[in-house]
Amino acid sequence: MTPFQDTRSRDQGHGLFSPRETEQLMRVEFERAGRHGLPLVCLLIGIDRLGTLQDLYGRETREEVLGASLAALRRVTREHDLLLALQEDRIVALFPHSQPELGALLARKLLEAAREMRFEREGRSLRISFSIGVAHNRHRDAISFDTLLSVAEEGLAVADAAGGDRFVETELYQLIEQQRRAREQQALRAGSAPGTPAAAVAPSAPAAPEARAPGLGDTLLDVLSAMGVRVDDPGRLDKQSLTQLLFRLQDARAPKEHGDLAEERRKNDILERRISKLVAQLGVTESELQRIALLKNVDLGIASIYREPQGLGAESHVQRKREMMKEIFTANFQMKRDIEARGGQEP
């Protein structure tokens, strides 16, 4: 499904691009973000009970609410980074260069802005609220703009079903992506219908050859499609796909190996720094002990204290003390027995 396919030119009055232009801009922006590894957030904003308001107070009220909502959206965001499109009662907002956390933050701000809006109609103060679906391109399955938009739509539906005045981020990227790929596969096998997302990705793709072997070829097609690899000639699928797959795997592995190496180097660096710090502290300890030894006019006694904290020779020291205590005890025990044997009389 393309969410912009039914849009009409009724949003012209709000100074936006036409729905088709906006869709193209958003797709370009999404592709650009994917190509350069940039974060991006998509909000799909629904105005709760907008149809009812129109029924009760007329089309002007609807337009006023829509205009105020767009103004609020512009207030809480960086306008120059914002792409807006109107789709029936919903606003699609795309925020390039925005981390996923920003989606929730913006949604909260919008909800608050909506709660503060007041519209006077027939002596009554009307209040509105938003339902918002949030999606971002940082999920590993958010590999197409359609998936992103579908996730946002799911979020909006859940928020709306829960009574509105809230935002939802469903994280259904994997499921939606699988569904999207299944549709693409189906379209590819059926000869690619015009106007579908597959056609948008590869508008000049020829019909799939009938003699293509099932099994491995299908699986590869799935995998490559998921990776965004365009398959020009399904007849040469195996050879081309395997080559591409190998390159992709190498590309995918290289950063990981590089990352592992970097992590190991970082750990080594930390350990080396700790060792050098400990060595420096030990040096300070030794010089301090030497200083104290000079002050005290004694060296080896202090050194014996020094050995214990360092764990050097402590055991033999303890053992020696035990032997001494045993000797003291034995001598005292003997004396006690002698006293008792004499009944307390003098020796």
Binding site: G301, S304, I305, M324, M325, I328, F329, N332, M335
Partner: protein, 344 residues
Amino acid sequence: MPAARTPGILHVGLDLGTSRTSIAASNGQRETVLSYVGYPKDVVSRKLLGRDVLFGQEAADKRLALDFYRPLGAGVIRSEGAGAEGNARAARDLIAEAVRRARPQAGELVYAVIGAPAQASLKNKEAIMQAARTCVDSVMLCSEPFAVAYGLDMLDDVLVIDIGAGTTDLCRMRGTMPEESDQITNTFAGDWVDERLSEEIRKLAPQAQFTREMVKSLKEKHSNVSANAPAAIVELPVAGKPQPFDLTDAIRTACRGVVPPIVDGLAQLIATFDPEFQPRLKQRVLLAGGGSQIKGLDLAIEAEMRQRLGEGRVVRVEEPLYAGAAGALKLAEEMPDEFWEKLK
């Protein structure tokens, strides 16, 4: 080593000295009391003083109304001659008083290690042990200089000089329990200095009136063996009128008198030690006990050692009054419980 405090048991270290008795306890209490005990002479003095027994400075101050005891002589209980029985009783009461000052809780077992002179006889040691057993639950004796070394954890190749009032104990530590041959006791100690100082004063000012306590007091205030010691101008009564006397030289002469016997003992202990370790031993001499507070004594011993033994380094312990008691306490705390149980 079980150094942590055991619930229900109070470990104490006791330095039973001729002049002072110091106690250090595992509950943190530390007390020193002069080793004087006095009992009211009669019913009148009993009523006046309001107590059956007085200790320390209070006993000394009121000794005219008391049967006054200094139960320890030469570091042991005076058990010979007239007053032996009284001294034994006074020693028991003195130990009990010291333990009381350690503030044991009701029902708490008291395990004590008592420092005895290095060469105290078996009879003397037994007398101390019997006196102590009446007021503690378990008692052990150890050599005083050993306790000092143990407290400082200096058990290897150390010579300890413990100058008390009655005796000066020398002990050679060589990593094991000191034996008879490792210890020397002489009587060139605080009391000897008092006697010597009395003689010097008598020579200097035959007409001056003074007592032994007065001499001890001025010695403790002015003791110094340095050549450039500040002048010790002391007022002593002459025919009832206080007169100033310069006792600087007299005090220096009396105090310096302990140095040669000490170095004699050190020389003996060093000479009978493994020649390979003799230089190390000479560099590790600990000076402890009340007598170590004589100003310049460490330097005087060092100078004498250099002259007679070629070299020497003397270190004064930081707490002369408590070094023995603290060492005895450490020993008490580290002694295994089963040993204490067997000595009950």
